[in-house]
């Protein structure tokens, strides 16, 4: 066990865990922040996506020992970000979610995309969102919500 000082959604959090523990499980089990989801554990489905120093990152494959001082932002904190708030509102307005389990990861990935490119093309959307699996198949509305958010971000 090792103690780590993490910055999560702007707050300092101290955790005492095995260094190999993926960030996902630190968030979910140590910090009880369950908005970030376990879907595959190998970085293949995107349900666990968080922002690490602003970059959309699969938290299920990043050991806590490699995080250092980089800021972590999760679905619970992204609403404090102006782009994050717009994207979450667009998600609600577009009625994107079905089961909703993958949507934290979808939203975190979409926010990172829109911060990078505020006017993404269909190809940009497909490339950025291409690794986020949704078994309910909400992809039509994910595209639509990203465009709605984009229109509000001018």
């Amino acid at each position: 066990m090792t103690t780590y000082q993490l910055s999560v959604n702007g707050e300092r959090k101290d955790v005492d865990v095995d260094p190999t523990t993926p960030l996902l499980w630190v968030l979910r089990e140590e910090l009880k922040m369950t908005g970030t989801k376990y879907g595959c554990g190998i970085g293949a489905c995107g349900a666990c996506t968080v922002h690490l120093a602003g970059i959309a990152t699969r938290s299920c494959v990043v050991p806590v020992s490699l995080i250092g001082s980089r800021a972590i932002v999760t679905i619970e904190g992204i609403g404090n970000d102006p782009v994050g708030r717009v994207v979450q509102d667009a998600w609600v307005e577009t009625d994107v979610v079905q089961c909703g389990y993958c949507q934290s990861g979808q939203i975190m990935t979409a926010v990172a995309l829109l911060k990078d490119k505020s006017k993404p093309t269909d190809t940009n959307i497909e490339e950025s969102m291409g690794g986020n699996l949704c078994r309910c198949g909400t992809y039509m509305r994910i595209r639509e919500a990203i465009k709605t958010a984009s229109a509000q971000l001018r």
Partner: protein, 729 residues
């Protein structure tokens, strides 16, 4: 399940088989902030005849209204649709309405089938009237309470937005009236609204859980956190049915956080459970645990070998399920007017995004369980059996589910049984069992593989005159509580659903089935037998239309009986809305497919191109007839998503294969269901306007997409693709 439900609906089985009604429930009582099911109801057997509002509606002092949903929310929108239905008849203020999922209890059994279940696209079909009546009764009680207070007749009062209005500008909020209303008897009969009076039903209403699920606040079963809770993972055998011979846990027991390691029985074979304080600890311990498996004599199913065996079986007539007309008709049709087609369809995994999980705390003389489940009553009974308790001693909470698609509706409740075995050993401590994605992908309970062999004799008019169809594949229901009801003369009606009940007019028609036994556990996969039967039927019908040089929609309309009203209407709307299919860019083609599932008719047109030797679905138009569309927005979502779910079996990495007994896929690396890049850019959904009783929309979209795509490919390439997934074109 579909067959089960149809059997019940058709009254082929006595209703009494499913409905063990035992008297009426107690009178009405609204409760305050906390929902607590009256013990009286919990003890009763069977579904009650009268559904007391107090078990379904809670008017809180601050005006909020909680509506209890007798199904699990899997994403399909029941936790919005059922509250809409009740709130509409109740004249409740929608902005104050929230949904709660019901625990396992008799009062929450499906009012038609008599067991608590979310499946068969049955929620809206079976609970529409139930929830309307509940809403109307609640409203009537609130009105009576107001009328009593004002000494006026109830008829002098009206309601709107959670307020009762009486003569002389009097008004009272529902919240003020709730406790008085609770003391009144529940009315036996109430007037229901005319459709013109609906304020919520029929409107495009956004999901109640949309915000919570967009901000990470929605709790799913996997998110449950209880004081002192431990986590378990299970090391499963490499072959289905294998047993633990020995295991060495000395090393893992020294790991910090590991609490216990022990063998548990599975439905077949056995496994080793690892209990730890954290998931990561349990998972790492599992990786290090040394287990010797007894593999001697254990079956080693292999997809290629099974297909060979199935193809051989398909050359012989199976147990006959349907035999209409003249069996000799085929012989009178020349071989040049016959098509012989053989289809191979793979195992399919549901892989709901939320991995399987169940949490149980066993207290010796009682237990409490939490699970995202489509079959709460059966799970509750299974847990009770493992723990040696009466069913009523197990409190079973239904949690929000991150997808289901049939995977959380297992007839053997194996997920819950395994969790109960662990809880039994860990008495007094809540233990959450988590399936890793690898456990899920490799864990069986797949849509079984099937081979179909069909001989079609074409009449002089280009229409099918004789049809001989052999279906080969595992039974869904053998060995389940429903076996005696739905396997008739050895034929599993869930396996042949979509073929045996085809609405097409085929005069000489025989369907038979073989159900080989294989060690891979099968299960219902969204749309059950229709997922493969409709692929076969609809691609063959398309082939016949092409041979007859007839438009595929016109051909289908010609082949449908006049009373196939819903399908005809769906096809007609599709025709009308898919004018674009007459005006395609070069190197594009459109394929058509249709079906009617659990009363809902679907017709689909898919525009397809070929890119990099793969089909690229450019655009889809789908028309449907589901009776009254309770929430058109939700239906649109279900259809868009359901079509994409149905694409899984087209994708080369969308399916499950076995080699020498082992599942070749492990996780979402070698198994790749549709991602956003696979999805069409556009799916238009057209709903046939109707005031008929509503039917379900969860499964109906799934079966049509694969045949529609393959029919388009046939137009592009001239080839008929009869095996899925589609490999390089």
């Amino acid at each position: 399940m579909r067959a089960l439900i149809r059997a019940a609906t058709d009254r082929k089985l006595s209703r009494r088989t499913f409905l063990r009604v035992s008297g009426t429930a107690a009178g009405g009582l609204f409760v305050g902030l906390h929902f607590d099911l009256p013990p009286l109801l919990r003890e009763k057997q069977g579904a009650p005849k009268v559904y007391p509002p107090e078990a379904f509606v809670h008017v809180m002092p601050d005006g909020r209204i909680a509506i209890v949903v007798n199904r699990v929310e899997l994403g399909q929108g029941v936790a919005t649709a059922l509250p809409m239905i009740l709130a509409d008849e109740m004249d409740a203020d929608w902005s104050q309405v929230s949904a709660e999922l019901a625990p396992a209890a008799d009062v929450y059994k499906d009012p038609v089938y008599g067991f608590q279940n979310t499946g068969g696209s049955a929620t809206i079909a079976n609970s529409f009237l139930q929830y309307r009546e509940l809403g109307a009764k609640t409203r009537a009680m609130l009105v009576s309470a107001a009328a009593d207070r004002w000494h006026v007749a109830p008829e002098q009062c009206r309601t709107a937005n959670s307020v009762v209005y009486g003569p002389g500008n009097r008004s009272a909020r529902y919240a003020e009236l709730a406790s008085a209303a609770a003391r009144l008897p529940v009315p036996e009969k109430v007037r229901l609204k005319n459709p013109s009076e609906f304020r919520l039903i029929g409107k495009r209403i956004r999901r109640l859980d949309g915000r919570a699920k967009s901000v990470g606040a929605q709790k799913f079963g996997l998110d449950l956190n209880l004081p002192g809770m431990l986590i378990a993972v299970i090391a499963r055998p490499p072959l289905f049915g294998a047993r633990v011979k020995a295991f060495d846990d000395r090393e893992v027991r020294t790991m910090s956080g590991v609490r216990d390691v022990f063998e548990i029985p599975l439905m077949t074979g056995s496994a080793v459970a690892i209990v730890a304080d954290r998931f990561w600890t349990a998972k790492r311990a599992r990786d290090r645990l040394k287990i010797e498996w007894d593999l001697a004599g254990v079956e080693r199913p292999d997809s290629a070998e099974l297909f060979t065996r199935y193809r051989q079986l398909a050359r012989t007539v199976g147990t006959v399920a349907v035999n209409r007309g003249d069996e000799g008709a085929m012989d009178r049709i020349s071989t040049s007017n016959r098509i012989v087609a053989e289809y191979q369809l793979p195992y399919l995994a549901h892989t709901p995004m939320e991995p399987l999980n169940t949490t149980i705390r066993f207290d010796g003389d009682s237990a409490e369980a939490w699970a995202p489940s489509q079959f709460p009553g059966y799970d509750q009974a299974a847990i009770a059996q493992v723990l040696g308790l009466k069913q009523q001693k197990v409190t079973y909470h239904v949690e929000f589910a991150g997808g289901g698609f049939g995977r959380r509706q297992s007839f053997d409740s194996h997920v819950q049984r395994e969790a109960a075995e662990i809880a039994k050993r860990m008495r007094g401590t809540p233990v959450k069992v988590i399936w890793t994605r690898e456990d899920d992908v490799q864990g069986g309970y797949y849509r079984p593989m099937f081979v179909h062999r069909v001989e079609v004799g074409i009449g002089g008019d280009g229409m099918p005159a004789a049809w001989k169809h052999v279906v080969v594949g595992q039974s869904y229901l053998a060995g389940t509580p429903f076996e005696s009801l739905l396997i008739k003369n050895g034929v599993d009606f869930d396996a042949i659903g979509g073929t045996e009940d085809t609405p097409y007019l085929i005069p000489n028609f025989r369907v038979s089935a073989h159900h080989p036994k294989v060690s891979v556990p099968p299960s219902q996969w969204r749309s059950v037998g229709y997922s493969h039967n409709i692929f076969v039927i609809e691609t063959l019908i398309d082939e016949l239309a092409t041979r007859a040089e007839t438009d595929p929609i016109a051909y289908r309309l010609k082949l449908l009986p006049p009373n196939a009203l819903r399908l005809r209407a769906a096809l007609a709307i599709l025709e009308q809305k898919s004018g674009w299919r007459k005006n395609l860019p070069p190197n594009r083609a459109v394929g058509i497919a249709c079906t009617q599932y659990q009363g809902t008719a679907v017709a689909c047109a898919a525009e397809v191109a070929i890119e990099n030797k793969r089909p690229k679905i450019m655009r889809v138009s789908v028309a449907l007839h589901c009776g009254l569309a309770v929430n058109p927005l939700s239906i649109e979502n279900q259809f868009q998503g359901g079509l994409i779910f149905g694409m899984s079996q087209l994708l080369p990495k969308g399916v499950i294969t076995l080699k020498d007994g082992r599942v070749e896929q492990r996780n979402f690396d070698r198994l790749a269901p549709p991602y956003i890049g696979d999805a069409p850019l556009r799916i238009d959904v057209h709903i046939v306007p109707s005031a008929e009783p509503p039917t379900g929309c969860g499964e109906p979209p799934v079966p049509v997409i694969s045949p529609a795509v393959v029919n388009a490919l046939a137009r592009l390439t001239g080839k008929r693709y009869r095996s899925l997934p589609l490999l390089a074109l």
